[in-house]
Symmetry: D2
């Protein structure tokens, strides 16, 4: 089974700029994370954008939808900021992409930090995408949700069923 | 969905004894790993034993089978050393436990080390156990294998289909 | 020999707020760092403030000077943001505190990040403070500088002799 | 000031072999540690051997003494296993090397582990070596000891004055 990972940025990939003291984006950490996880999956990795999901526009979402629809793989994982993950999931669902399982995931803490949940979530999303039926899902907190059945709880930082 | 995690030790949980310079077992790191992963799953954690899987006897395996069969949950993840993971999977399959999805996972590098694959594998196993049909599986390297379709490649440290 | 550590914040102690995605201060990481370093030094730890050194006012500096002067210990390490470390060193020197060795140190990357220089700098500052003659010093990049002989190079993030 | 670091192995540099599950030596982590510490010191790094200090023979010690004596630098840091660090310090002292400050240091936990004291000890040893008068010293636990005034407490893993 071939899997496409579409990288869009989000907390997952934020780094600390030691000269300015701010968080920023450089390259994605996904290749390093896949190495650490000893992944033997057949993965095509593609960086679509590297942005904070709060800055994501409709055009950005349209581009993600296009890439998810047009890529060859039937299993697609999208790394994404958690704040608007559900919005992008909705845009993907609205596109009615046939025969593809699409799983969005992200992290609450940047991978570059010792305490990141990123590796756990990546292992989770890559597993769900292999076995869930076609559709658009969010994989966070060890769980999976259909795109229209979840929201991020801003107070706890966790995803929950609506 | 309720999930039972049966802890048996393995590289996952090895620690460095700074007085002797040897690796040893103390408490399981699973609770810390679930916290790091921000898991919101309904998990019952049970330490069955804390041993190197090379030291596992038939009696040990029988105890693991008993716990997997007798626990209330229909979804069971077993943390296990990789060297004899497939043997334990075989013992579980031989027990013909009805209606349960059992997923064994482990790590090549102890969680206490910076470079561990443990968190990735745990996220993976917990995801597979929620969606795979009843049966006994191994989840390693981002993949899942039926118990009778995999082996550990000693040269690469990776699991592969037989 | 007794050593006083005055904590003032700085990058050393910044943490990632996973709900807001911003860096912030909570408790100091110094006790954890001393444990990790297996420090057997006789240390009194005192949090004077927890702020970014760019936000430090003259009143803040006066308070640091007061605490450095009034504490019982003759060896004082001050954890401090790097941006205005030299300014605080100058304020300390201006106070003409007799018979005390005062060493300021900090970090370019928060201790909570995997790649922090904090532990190295702390080991360095605690060592210099035990053996340097009375005076005010900056300990960064493995080096020590007299307060009036260094500056932070904003382009490289390193301290250098002026 | 130029500093020579003589690498001899020890816990500092032990790594986890994921195929055998054993600790072993490969390359020294010193260059990576110096980068993490943002060291701006003028350092010549030389790997003399990579062994467990319990396996160190008289010939090995003679080689370390030779290198410490013959190198151009007057400031020498030696990374060393803690178990026989004091023995090597004694051998160095017996050689009556004139005009050189020699500081031995090590770690209780390998640098490759998240919880290592190595970076703290390295920052400490590199600082002491710049300011202590000629002689042979051990730098551990944030402290420095003359070679004939310390021992490792096997029960606590800490160095103490005799």
């Amino acid at each position: 089974m071939q899997i496409r990972i579409l990288v869009t940025g989000g907390t997952f990939d934020k780094e600390y700029d030691e000269l300015t003291g701010r968080l920023f984006f450089r390259d994605t950490h996904l290749p390093e994370m896949l190495r650490r996880g000893r992944s033997m999956l057949d993965i095509q990795l593609e960086t679509v954008m590297m942005i904070d999901s709060l800055d994501m526009t409709d055009e950005d979402r349209a581009m993600i939808v296009t890439r998810a629809r047009d890529c060859d793989e039937r299993s697609v994982v999208i790394s994404h900021g958690t704040d608007t993950m559900v919005e992008t999931a909705r845009a993907l669902a609205a596109a009615s992409i046939k025969g593809k399982t699409i799983v969005l995931t992200g992290a609450m803490v940047p991978y570059a930090f010792g305490s990141s949940d990123g590796l756990f979530n990546l292992g989770s999303a890559l597993s769900f995408v292999q076995v869930l039926p076609p559709g658009v899902y969010v994989a966070m907190n060890g769980q999976h949700f259909r795109w229209d059945e979840c929201r991020k709880n801003k107070a706890t930082g966790c995803f929950e069923t609506v």
